[in-house]
């Protein structure tokens, strides 16, 4: 009798487990669809002949949108793309260097004013950054440097110290005894930074580089203000917004395939980069954003 009860018990247990797992799989499939379909839709629409708002799959196929982006005089998409790429490359290198320098100093060196500097940067970072931009624009105009991509680079680089938080969290988790051991062997702090901490911090270096590189691609607020409506100075975000809602007005329906094509062309390089570096990204986020 005992064994049969046990058997029935196990059977019901297993059945429960199967039901539970099936529910989970169904849930996962549903959210995957929710998360992927919009992007598939964008990809499909970029190959559509003309926009139809009542079907997901276009009825006519063409590569007109891509052709248009390559050859059009109306939208200098490639100019925008290259602008953004140049800005992103310079920003990525310099910003990473400055951010890591700051966060290393704030994490591992002990000096007067350390806490004060940290709190100060935290507080000043909460000021709505757009207001500061109005003033920087005016200052750059005094120097005849306004509305060019150089000013954008300067601005992105200028604030890099304020991103210290995540990489500082990462540096905080590296044991201090490593520093001490190196110091006893006669290393100075510079050597410790470059020879000991840096090789251990590959995830956070790659993470900071990735963030600094992708930041300028998604920036709309600063870029739109500094471009001042001059198409030569647009970055991708401002340019694409201009394709979609010219003049900040309503949706331009005729341009939807063009928008989708531009979106695909912008998203693909970043996605490729992202998936190549995914491992570092995950390590950086989980190791630095929160200490655990």
């Amino acid at each position: 009798m005992d064994t049969s009860v046990k058997k029935a018990h196990y059977a019901s247990h297993r059945r429960n487990k199967i039901i539970k797992n099936t529910a989970i799989y169904i849930f996962l499939v549903i959210i995957s669809v929710i998360w992927l379909v919009p992007f598939l839709y964008m990809l499909l629409q970029s190959f559509s002949g003309h926009y139809e708002f009542d079907s997901v799959i276009p009825s006519t196929w063409s590569i007109h949108a891509y052709e248009f982006l390559f050859t059009s005089n109306e939208y200098q998409f490639w100019k925008w793309w290259l602008n953004t790429f140049a800005i992103a490359c310079v920003t990525a290198v310099v910003q990473t260097l400055l951010t890591l320098m700051t966060s290393y100093a704030l994490s591992r060196l002990r000096f007067k004013m350390r806490k004060a500097i940290m709190q100060f940067m935290l507080i000043i970072g909460m000021f709505p950054s757009f207001l500061g931009m109005v003033i920087i624009y005016y200052i750059l105009r005094l120097l005849n440097m306004e509305s060019s991509i150089y000013s954008l680079i300067l601005i992105y680089i200028g604030g890099s110290a304020m991103n210290y938080y995540i990489s500082k969290g990462f540096f905080d988790t590296i044991p201090r005894s490593l520093d001490e051991a190196a110091m006893i062997d006669g290393a100075n702090k510079n050597t410790v930074f470059f020879r000991i901490i840096m090789p251990l911090s590959k995830p956070i270096v790659v993470y900071t580089l990735l963030m600094a590189f992708t930041g300028p691609w998604g920036d709309f607020m600063t870029a739109s203000f500094y471009a001042q409506g001059v198409p030569d100075n647009f970055n991708v975000a401002v340019g694409i917004q201009n394709i979609m809602n010219p003049g900040g007005g309503t949706l331009n329906i005729a341009n939807i395939p063009t928008f989708c094509a531009a979106g695909v062309l912008t998203a693909i390089p970043i996605m490729v980069l992202f998936f190549c570096l995914q491992r570092y990204y995950v390590e950086g986020v989980t190791g630095g954003a929160v200490k655990g």
Partner: protein
């Protein structure tokens, strides 16, 4: 009351007890604070007077080289073999004097009035020539830069006197400094200076100085009617604050304050919802993917991570296009005309939901790693004690996650208050707010919409409205800043993961 008595109370009684206790202890706390005041004051005084003491010592005990450094900065250093540092101090002094003569002096003198005479149009024959005398904003910017330069000069001045005296004294005992020592210090003892100088200079130039100027602009009348260099800008004191808060200040009584209140309320509601929906749902998704026995874990995660990889402005514009009331594909398939982004209430819900679509993968990613860190034996013992999944979550998972992620939550909250992209690219702040017919709407609020956050309202005030009011925009910005800074400082300083900064080292 003894500990046993306290423990025997119910939760509610404990809460009441500690609430009453706070007030009981208040007098003694205040007294304690007051009794510490003199010593704190003395310490503060000591800190402030330290530079003065340095200067006094240099004057009293210094030899002729140190004393000459009072006039020629760095003299005591480069005559004592620290040539590089000494010359740098001297160069800064020369630069400072030149700057003061050329720009700074005039700018500082004009700071009180922000210029006497704006631009004047003179007709010479048939040609109009515009001559700009004073440009208020330039005066303001240059005077702030001058003040910063003066502060730097003060610090350098005291530092070089102190160092000169130090070198003089170490020369007595036969130790001579050199440039090589400076270099060695830069890589070791004062390595923090080497690392921090350039980044902090960047922050000062591109953040601190603009913020100071913007705060000052809140007290001027810098708007479309007073646009330098054509017209002068003036100090107006608290008039901008008054026009925002008091009846009859702006063109309409108390309308401005009600608009401000509405925008502020939506900003806070948005920030709370956006932060916590993402946080909890992201955590739940992570837990579901982490469930034992689920296969292809990596694939499910990668699918979600796709959203992080696509630049968010593309996802947002895509969503805004798909949700368009008349031409969007979602209404097209449903065959309906649901005003996703054009009805004031539905638009708010839509924005929060779309933000979940964008934000959940990120939280999921963060939570996945953390959830695996929770020791499995905790869950096993909870199971043996008969705790269900809900209780396990409330008593084990959530407290642990909250403990670790408080700083992340705060920075997320602040980021959401200033989240420009989601609102501007999704709805543009629209639909516009509607007012009772016949109301005279102040020009500054002419384009404010019901999904506008404070930051997008500021953007509109500075950029897209016909009447640009930079002064009022900076008043609003200042108020946002005060609220956010106060809130997050309190939480930050009380969170355990900030207090125990060195726990993990």
């Amino acid at each position: 009351m003894t500990t046993i008595e306290y423990l025997s109370m119910s939760n509610f009684e404990r809460f009441c007890y500690s609430f009453v206790e706070i007030f009981k202890r208040l007098p003694s706390r205040v007294a304690m604070g007051c009794s510490r005041l003199p010593s704190r004051f003395r310490r503060l005084l000591g800190k402030i007077s330290a530079p003065a003491v340095d200067v006094y010592n240099a004057a009293k005990y210094g030899d002729w080289r140190t004393r000459l450094s009072f006039i020629l900065m760095g003299f005591g250093l480069f005559t004592r073999r620290q040539i590089t540092r000494g010359v740098m101090y001297l160069v800064y002094e020369v630069f400072f004097i030149a700057f003061m003569f050329l720009v700074g002096g005039n700018a500082l003198a004009g700071l009180g009035t922000l210029g006497q005479l704006g631009s004047v149009i003179i007709t010479v024959g048939a040609v109009d020539a515009t001559i700009v005398y004073d440009d208020s904003l330039t005066i303001l910017i240059y005077s702030i830069i001058t003040i910063v330069l003066i502060l730097i000069l003060a610090v350098f001045y005291v530092a070089q006197l102190r160092d000169s005296l130090r070198l003089q004294r170490s020369a007595y005992i036969g130790h001579f400094a050199s440039d090589r020592e400076t270099l060695r210090n830069l890589l070791d003892k004062s390595y923090h200076r080497t690392l921090l100088t350039i980044p902090l200079a960047g922050v000062t130039i591109f953040t601190v100085i603009p913020v100071i100027i913007m705060v000052l602009i809140a007290f001027t009348n810098y708007n479309s009617n007073h646009l330098p260099p054509a017209t002068l800008v003036d100090w107006v004191g608290f008039a901008n604050f008054a026009s925002l808060f008091s009846a009859g200040g702006a063109s309409n009584n108390s309308l401005m304050v009600s608009i401000f209140g509405q925008v502020l309320a939506w900003t806070l509601v948005w920030a709370v919802f956006a932060t916590f929906t993402n946080y909890f749902l992201g955590m739940i998704v992570a837990m579901i993917i982490n469930t034992k026995g689920i296969r292809l874990k990596k694939m499910w995660r990668t699918i979600l991570i796709t959203t992080i990889a696509v630049p968010s402005f593309i996802s947002l514009m895509l969503m805004s296009m798909m949700l368009n009331q008349n031409f969007g594909v979602i209404n097209g398939i449903l065959g309906s005309k649901i005003p996703w982004l054009t009805n004031p209430w539905l638009a708010k819900v839509t924005i929060i939901v779309v933000n979940m679509w964008i934000g959940i993968p990120y939280t999921m990613l963060i939570c996945t790693g953390l959830l695996m860190n929770i020791p499995a034996d905790l869950y096993e013992s909870a199971k043996i004690d008969g705790a269900g999944p809900f209780k396990t979550y409330m008593r084990i998972t959530l407290p642990y996650m909250l403990f670790v992620t408080t700083p992340y939550l705060i920075s997320n909250f602040v980021g959401n208050i200033n989240n420009f992209n989601v609102i501007y690219l999704l709805s543009g702040g629209n639909p516009l707010m509607t007012f009772a017919p016949g109301t005279v709407v102040p020009q500054q609020a002419a384009t404010v919409g019901s999904t506008d956050l404070l930051i997008t309202w500021i953007y509109k005030m500075c950029l897209t409205t016909g009447f640009k009011d930079y002064a009022l925009a900076s008043v609003v910005g200042l108020l946002v800043f005060v609220v956010v800074a106060f809130f997050s400082l309190v939480v930050f300083n009380n969170s355990k993961s900030v207090k125990n900064e060195e726990d993990y080292q």
